[in-house]
Amino acid sequence: MRDTPLSNCERDFILKAIEEKRRLDGRQTYDYRNIKISFGTDYGCCFVDLGKTRVMAQVSCELITPKENRPNDGIMFFNIELSPMASPAFETGRQSELMVKLNRQLERCLRNSKCIDTESLCVVSGEKVWQIRVDVHLLNHDGNLMDATSIAAITALCHFRRPDVGIQGEDVTVYSTEERDPIPLSIYHMPISVSFSFFQQGTYLLVDPCDREERVMDGLLMIAMNKHREICSIQSSGGIMLLKDQVLRCSKIASVKVSEITELINRALENDKKVRKAGGRCGFAESMPQERITALKTHVSPLEMTDVEEKANEIVLRAEAPPQTVPSPVLPGPGTGQVGEGLQSSWGLEEEEEEEEEEEEEEEEQQHKAEEEVTCVAEEKRGVKMQPVPISRWQ
């Protein structure tokens, strides 16, 4: 199914708004949308929300034989899946241009920058090394997929723990998570990509374009940097011509943004570590059904409460009158007191007769007009279950 086409009116409006330095959602030119990072129960599972764009990354590992020309290095494998869930424009199975571009960009950003120490992934040189596989799934497409996937991928890699391995001579034993604690990957630095979109042949620039801005843009510049201000990769697409000082300006903006985002990622990882430790001690069963350690907070959705009062009054009026309290207790004998009259004992009778009983009871209630307090009934029933104490009169 094809995506809704962009009408001329929207295109003109967005371009005019950009000329007046206004964005559709009220952001400033250099503002990012709200970034939310959350983790799943497994190590290496990470969700990233960039505004409405939603992305999930999952890291897994496997022991395989290394490449022949690099016997001491582990292998990193990246895969980005675009499902039709993200956008009606995506089709399953087909390798679309966008998918190839995103995959290639992520590989260059993470693999070529050598952010992970691949030599530490070697178990037995030339025979067994770890293959780390990063799968990124796009859950919702609202623009700027590259940034969201890079944040998700690097956060998932930082979060991931691989099983511990013991080598005794020629034997290699892989310890499960119960036997020995899994160990984190050794990560040198965290490259994060920042996207800049250009409009009107490079005159106007926006950071973090949303879906509609992306459709109208002339070109995109992607700069991947780490917080030490080292550029890991730059890619310019769309065929726009950029001046040298424009690129320099973009890299300065990128360094500011990257340090903010790295801060956010570190805080999220810290938070998750704390919650896991606490969860381990208390045995949090609450988070299990949701399969989340850091439970998601749903947005508080306000309800229509305008006529709640009237509705409540109506309900109260329509409801039956509350059971009247019996005014005074009756003393049938010395040492005994009775409040209200007892209902027929339903304890011990079969369930099939319960309905009939209820009807009978209702009729009795209506006939007698004196109803017991709820607490009395409870106490009597309890009394019945324990011992038949003749406190009240049975009928």
Partner: protein, 208 residues
């Protein structure tokens, strides 16, 4: 319409799980559930906003947000003849009415009523902004005594076209005002009347 029940006691009706939304009530005994649905299913007689995607032969292909693209004949405009074609380009917005809409056939649109007059339908939108809202909000906006529309009118003058497929087009004097109206409409989906009024008042006082 259900017949009026005069003497029966108020019965409790149990709704099954899986219905999300606000239960609405209209005297004497009409209840329905307003759900925040966004996917439009074309139905006959509704006025929708469509985007022209292609011109093929004698018809335009128009996207109305449903599963199929609708077709709009070029003769279905006021004053259009075989020689006098309407000035419609690919990417234009059209406000039109559905005359054929069932699950077996491709939907068809017209920009003309049964007498041959345009009556507000046709191509529009040289400026202004098109955005999407839920179908429930659209119905609320189009209701005869719509409070939302009245509250918005008090803010500043603007033009608005509401399509029953969840698309709304807004144009105000400046881009700033247009953006304000668009964002307000998108955000007042889940708000109660009071919250909405406080929000509108805050905006009107010039906080933005």
């Amino acid at each position: 319409m259900p017949e009026s029940i005069t003497d029966s006691k108020p019965e409790k009706v149990v709704c099954g799980p899986g219905l999300r939304g606000i239960l609405r009530h209209k005297q004497p005994n009409l209840y329905w559930i307003d759900s925040q649905q966004r996917r439009y299913v074309p139905s006959k007689g509704e006025n929708v906003i469509g985007v022209v995607t292609a011109k093929s032969g004698d018809i335009f292909k128009v996207d109305i947000g449903g599963s199929e693209q609708a077709s709009l004949s070029y003769l279905a405009f006021e004053g259009a003849t075989k020689r006098n074609r309407p000035n419609v380009q690919v990417g234009d917005l059209v406000y039109s009415q559905l005359i054929v809409a069932n699950k077996d056939m491709e939907p068809e649109l017209v920009c003309i009523d049964s007498c041959g007059r345009a009556n507000g339908l046709g191509v529009f939108g040289a400026d202004g902004l098109l955005f999407k809202v839920s179908l429930g909000l659209v119905r609320r906006l189009l209701a005869p005594q719509s409070e939302i529309a009245k509250d918005l009118e008090k803010m500043f003058p603007f033009e608005m076209v509401v399509g029953m497929n969840g698309r709304v087009w807004v144009k105000a004097k400046t881009i700033q005002q247009t953006l304000i109206v668009a964002n307000l409409l998108e955000s007042c989906e889940n708000m109660t009347a009071q919250q909405r009024q406080t929000l509108f008042r805050r905006v009107a006082d010039g906080s933005i």
